[in-house]
């Protein structure tokens, strides 16, 4: 701190500004419990060999917690999708979507080939060293979903599979491996074109495409997304025209 080239002290007005700024984040406290629940949930998922159908008997407590959270999450996701569905047709794409000529089928197959041969290089969950990523919600749900009852039971196996793929995709994105992420979303799209996590999958796929520099594809797919989920809080912003331009 007191090295030869040490910085000047912060000017008082900036110090005051920063002090006040620091008090502006209290709202995140409300997300803490849910976030912790999600983290435990996902820790349990990591501990359990999800690829083998989901549950490791030896981690019972986290798994129980996970099950509860899982149900809650899926209910929220369902609510989200339902809400979006209700308003389809009323809202017609909220952004002036550029281009999008003859959009490809909803699931833009990256590799238009035989599903079974084109296995995405997604390692099984147990082999993924880094934890898979959060489902939609912490942010989304805390803002919209008025805590749907955790009763919405889903076919457990399928949902677990869905989650594995979607979370794998998100983890890959977080690790800056968009190609892997795209492979995982493609796989999900093949297996669960209308899955409960389809919305999330599309977001991840669009982000992955953009990260790979495949902006036109990302835009086309985004346009489809906006039509399918006009109210989605997860909607990725346009990629082509970055407004203003950032440094």
């Amino acid at each position: 701190m007191t090295a030869p080239e040490g910085p000047d002290p912060l000017p008082p007005d900036l110090a005051a500004l920063f002090a006040k700024e620091s008090a502006g984040y209290g709202a995140y406290a409300a997300t803490q419990d849910e976030a912790y629940g999600n983290v435990l949930d996902r820790l349990a998922l990591v501990a359990a060999p999800a690829g083998e159908g989901g549950g490791a008997p030896d981690v019972s407590a986290p798994v129980a917690a996970a099950a509860a959270t899982k149900a809650a999450v899926s209910a929220k996701v369902a609510a989200l999708v339902a809400a979006a569905a209700l308003t389809v047709g009323v809202v017609v794409g909220r952004a002036s979507v550029p281009a999008a000529p003859a959009p490809p089928p909803f699931i833009t197959a990256r590799v238009p080939a035989a599903p079974d041969l084109v296995r995405p290089p997604l390692p099984p969950a147990s082999a993924v060293p880094d934890p898979p990523a959060p489902i939609t919600s912490a942010s989304a749900s805390s803002r919209i979903a008025p805590a749907a009852p955790p009763s919405a039971a889903a076919p457990q196996g399928t949902l677990a599979q869905e989650r594995e793929l979607v979370e794998g995709a998100r983890a890959a994105l977080t690790r800056a491996r968009p190609a892997d992420a795209l492979a995982a979303t493609d796989r999900h799209a093949q297996l669960f074109p209308r899955g409960r996590l389809a919305e999330e999958r599309e977001v991840l796929a669009i982000t992955a495409l953009a990260s790979l520099g495949r902006i036109p594809e990302a835009e086309v797919r985004r346009a489809r997304f906006l039509r399918a989920y006009p109210d989605s809080l997860l909607a990725p912003p346009p990629f082509a025209a970055v407004d203003g331009g950032r440094p």
Partner: protein
């Protein structure tokens, strides 16, 4: 280990969210990225050397994940953030929120290198040596970036106000 992790989570979660925002993570993504971060922390916790201070260790993750996030979001950066930002503000006093938004906007105008150093030094209170280790540059570089960052920040927020905010 679970206890330790829980304590760490409870003690740091809010600060992590705050730092992520400052480092350019969008409001909509902040809690997700924070969860990502704590999963990583959980995984790495066994390797954490307890002789060493916790915060620099923790914030190395914060910096890294924020950078990752920005990379993934490059095309989208800054887009549509303001609206969402105000969506989460219920609990905070209006002045603090307005100031936060002002600061975040000014931070988002900095390039990544400058922003990171300014946030870590002036907002998070790390010293140059800690920052140097975290981001892998010599301390002198931290200083020079800090100076440039403050100048750029100053240019955005304007000269010292007479009295009131803004």
């Amino acid at each position: 280990m679970r206890d330790e992790f829980q304590q760490l989570f409870e003690a740091e979660y809010l600060y992590v969210c705050r730092s992520l925002r400052r480092l350019g993570v969008r409001d909509a993504d902040t809690t997700d990225v924070a969860q990502e971060l704590f999963l990583l922390v959980h995984r790495e916790l066994p390797r954490y050397d307890r002789q060493r201070p916790l915060r620099p260790w923790l914030y190395a993750f914060v910096v890294r994940l924020a950078a990752n996030h920005r990379k993934l979001r490059r095309h989208a950066y800054e887009r549509g953030d303001e609206g969402l930002a105000s969506a989460t503000t219920g609990a905070d006093d209006r002045d603090a929120v307005a100031t936060r938004d002002l600061v975040l906007r000014a931070l988002s105008a900095l390039d990544d290198e400058k922003r990171t150093v300014l946030v870590l030094f002036d907002l998070e209170g790390f010293d140059a040596k800690e920052i140097a280790v975290m981001i892998g540059v010599p301390p002198n570089t931290v200083y020079s970036r800090l100076r440039l960052a403050r100048e750029a920040f100053r240019a955005t927020v304007g000269a010292p106000p007479a009295g009131g905010a803004r």
